[in-house]
């Protein structure tokens, strides 16, 4: 009932939705920080796959979880950012 009225009068989001959204974002960061192993595992898996196709500079490979605007620009969403310097691309794959 209350919620409907808010919609009619164009009031802003309820504070609990704001809380929930903020929490979800902050937890993406926290969770990645809880286990540095998580990013390490992800990194080594990515290297494993990529080296089937190209030589990369493993020591300079950078991976992080970050935030970015969603495509419609309406909200902030989590994003995986990877910077992978390529040394050489193999012709045949494998």
């Amino acid at each position: 009932m209350l919620l409907d009225l808010r919609k009619i009068f164009g009031r802003s989001k309820s504070s609990k939705d704001v809380a929930k959204e903020r929490l979800k974002l902050v937890l993406i960061h926290d969770r990645a920080n809880v286990s540095p192993q998580f990013l390490e595992m992800l990194k080594s898996e990515i290297i494993k796959v990529i080296t089937n196709y190209m030589d990369v500079d493993e020591s300079a490979l950078e991976i992080q979880l970050t935030k970015t605007r969603s495509d419609d620009g309406q909200s902030v969403v989590p994003a995986l950012y990877a910077n992978i310097p390529i040394k050489n691309i193999r012709k045949s794959g494998k």
Binding site: L2, S14, K16, D17, A19, L23, D30, R31
Partner: protein
């Protein structure tokens, strides 16, 4: 078979000690021999919440340092059959106890007791590591606030990393009226974020303050809603399937609360 259960939260002031006191008392009332251990060395409080502060002779540090036998440090709660407390030391710090010592102590207590309940200090440092060392199960207490939920998430991660599997969530101080107007996260919102099983929801209840003032756990108060919610938690710990109290059902609960507190509907 006896069980060691740690009650933890990360954030301070969400109700770990009150929950430990109430759940422990409830377990004893239901016929299980129970011991509560306060591991908040330097900031002990379970003794005052339980109303046993005048009975302390020996404490947790005395036990692990061998200044007394375990039996001597057990304070028997004369009001409830089968309920005991090992208080924390007040003049020492968290480093006075080591995780291995907690494991040894709990193993000894398992022989005597059905449940060993450990009241964990706030934080994620040594006090936390001591408290969870011997735990078979964990109850994570949170309130419907961003700070408490965030810390609960961190604690859940740390519990899993330390192989305390399958922790359960206790949501404390829920206000149905605020949830209803969209100004407080609901049970579902919190479960959705933390993705763990629920063991109970305790409504915000003035009676908790009153009972803590007196040193008498609210679980004994048949009129207290929080007390009722704690009784349900105890039954769930003992393996019973108990439906969760309905908070979302509109007026019913709010009216009941208002009636309970003698407030007029406005």
């Amino acid at each position: 078979m006896s069980e060691v259960i740690v009650i933890t939260s990360g954030k301070g002031g969400v109700g770990k000690t009150t929950s430990t006191a109430n759940i422990g008392t409830g377990l004893a009332l239901s016929g299980s021999k129970t011991v509560l251990i306060d591991t908040d060395i330097g900031l002990r409080n379970l003794d005052v919440v339980m109303g046993l502060e005048n009975r302390i002779v020996y404490d947790l540090v005395d036990v692990v340092e061998g200044n007394c036998r375990v039996k001597q440090a057990l304070i028997k709660d004369k009001r409830f059959d089968g309920l005991y407390l090992i208080p924390a030391a007040q003049t020492r710090d968290k480093t006075a106890v080591k995780p291995e010592q907690m494991i040894r102590l709990c193993d000894e207590l398992r022989e005597e007791f059905d449940y060993v309940l450990i009241d964990c200090p706030a934080g994620i440092e040594q006090g936390f590591r001591n408290a969870i060392a011997a735990a078979d199960r964990a109850i994570v207490v949170t309130t419907p606030e961003v700070s408490a939920v965030r810390d609960a998430d961190r604690i859940i991660g740390l519990l899993e990393a330390n192989e305390v599997r399958n922790p359960k969530l206790l949501i404390n101080r829920l206000r149905a009226d605020m949830v209803k107007r969209g100004d407080m996260m609901s049970i579902d919102d919190i479960i959705d974020i933390l993705a763990i099983g629920l063991i109970g929801v305790i409504p915000d209840d003035e009676k908790i303050v009153v009972s803590t003032n007196r040193g008498e756990p609210a679980i004994c108060d048949s009129k207290s809603l929080a007390g009722q919610a704690f009784r349900n938690v105890v039954r769930r710990i003992k393996g019973e399937e108990v439906p969760f109290m309905s908070f979302s059902e509109d007026q019913g609960f709010v009216m009941k609360l208002k009636k309970l507190f003698g407030l007029k509907a406005n």
